[in-house]
Symmetry: C2
Subunit: 280 residues, 2 copies
């Protein structure tokens, strides 16, 4: 079948490379950055440049890999260009805010939308950093709608397996956004905030692995993450409030010189981490 | 020369293995856990069991690798057992609280104390996990006293280089504790607190690298870390207060629907991380 990947960045580029490596589908690329298209053609990550959105009418599957608001805008601006009965999929890190905006308008045009979130990334962005093995063993989350035909969900799962995703999770957009606020968004906020201590300027030579781990994702694309955070405000605010509240418990125990309380707080955290390691 | 390593855990065991691998010194081990001594003898990490503290009198260098309070107690209980003009070194993650308690009493007995902190670790403890390459390229921090003879500091630096430590930092106990509160202690508190969201129970399948990185060190030894935190309360409380304050800024920006402010906060954190990566 014909697949168009819209947005040849880290994720879009990795989709192109994985589809070419593991399937026989024909891949078309579209990007406003001409250099990304050129690079993708050169390394055979795509078969052809899609050139214009008019050509979407020949595509069976369109994977939109733009930032969240851009993804919404792209889909809404091209409602009349998608082929009837074709499938449109996004790859954004939030789902409710996307699904709410595009599902119904696409459905009215006879086009099916399914939200997806490939749980993979790097602290770099752009086609240059895309990899044909970025998705190896990564989780792939798909959020079908109540009336999404079962065979469509099955196709998406099968397609993700072909691209070497590991765990494939089917869930609702609400549930996705609630959990992702914790596992991904909070990690980026905390990591970014961590760097803001005045002590950060003196850490050279004093930093073991713990500092590097805690702050790895502080190097983020602020445009994309601002978009993701604002579209998932409620769930993320809950997580920020929760960690602040928990940090205050350790603080209190220390201020009260209560070693037993501090030890118990640390023990609880260790047990929760050990429990979570069992589920990997 | 004769070196005794007191406490054959992860760090003590790794010292034994590295000294045997990279130097010709004779290594004696002491541990209340007989099995650790047996294991260390079997794998030739030590040449001999020290058996009793009476034998400290034949040691030129004693490396005390116990938890902080245990290290202080061991040294104070053995003031009369160390050889005159010998060197005693600890390996704890805090320095001021150790130095303040043991430097003077040892000096009165003609024994020199130098505080050290090998910046290496794993999320496991015990001799079984010790490695002869744990210190490869790690930072080694040494905190001499004002009246520590220069040749002693030079010897420690040379010795750490032999054991394959990378960066060797000479600093004061105060400065060490202030920076370590940020680079290591805060990382453990935040990581541990991170696990306490109710969402942690649903993360399976939704966790990308960011969650794993942020929570790796949540699996900690609560006895040791309680000791370390309580002995460095002031500096650590400052860091906890700072990160809570910074987290509140992101929260505020989101609550006020201020995308520009949120983006600016994220940009600042990214730039600080990029700056810090230049100094690795």
């Amino acid at each position: 079948m014909n697949i168009a990947v819209v947005g040849l960045g880290l994720i879009g580029g990795s989709f192109c490379k994985s589809i070419k490596k593991y399937t026989d589908h024909k891949v078309y690329g579209l990007d406003i950055n001409e250099n990304s298209v050129k690079l993708a053609l050169e390394c055979k990550a795509i078969d052809e440049d899609l050139h214009t959105t008019d050509n979407l009418k020949n595509m069976d599957l369109v994977i939109v890999s733009l930032h969240p608001t851009q993804s919404i805008n792209f889909i809404l601006e091209n409602l009349d260009n998608f082929k009837r009965d074709s499938l449109v999929m996004d790859t954004c890190g939030i789902k409710q805010g996307i699904v709410d905006r595009v599902y119904k308008p696409l459905k009215d045009k006879g086009v099916l939308f399914v939200g997806a979130h490939p749980m993979a990334g790097r602290e770099f962005s752009g086609f240059e950093y895309s990899l044909d093995n970025l998705f190896d063993n990564a989780s792939f989350i798909v959020t079908p709608f109540e009336d999404t035909p079962a065979h469509i969900t099955e196709f998406i799962k099968y397609f993700a397996q072909k691209l070497q995703f590991g765990k494939i999770v089917v869930t609702t957009p609400e549930e996705h956004d609630r959990v992702i606020a914790f596992t991904s968004q909070l990690a980026h906020v905390v990591s970014n905030a961590y760097m803001k201590s005045p002590s950060a300027k003196q850490e050279s030579g004093f930093s073991a692995g713990s500092f590097q781990d805690l702050t790895r994702v502080a190097k983020l694309d602020e445009n994309m993450w601002t978009d993701l955070f604002m579209l998932n405000k409620k769930a993320l605010l809950f997580e920020i409030d929760t960690i602040i509240e928990k940090l205050q418990e350790y603080k209190q125990a220390m201020e009260n010189d209560n070693s037993e309380e501090l030890k118990e707080l640390l023990r609880e955290g260790r047990l929760l981490k050990e429990e979570s390691l069992k589920n990997i």
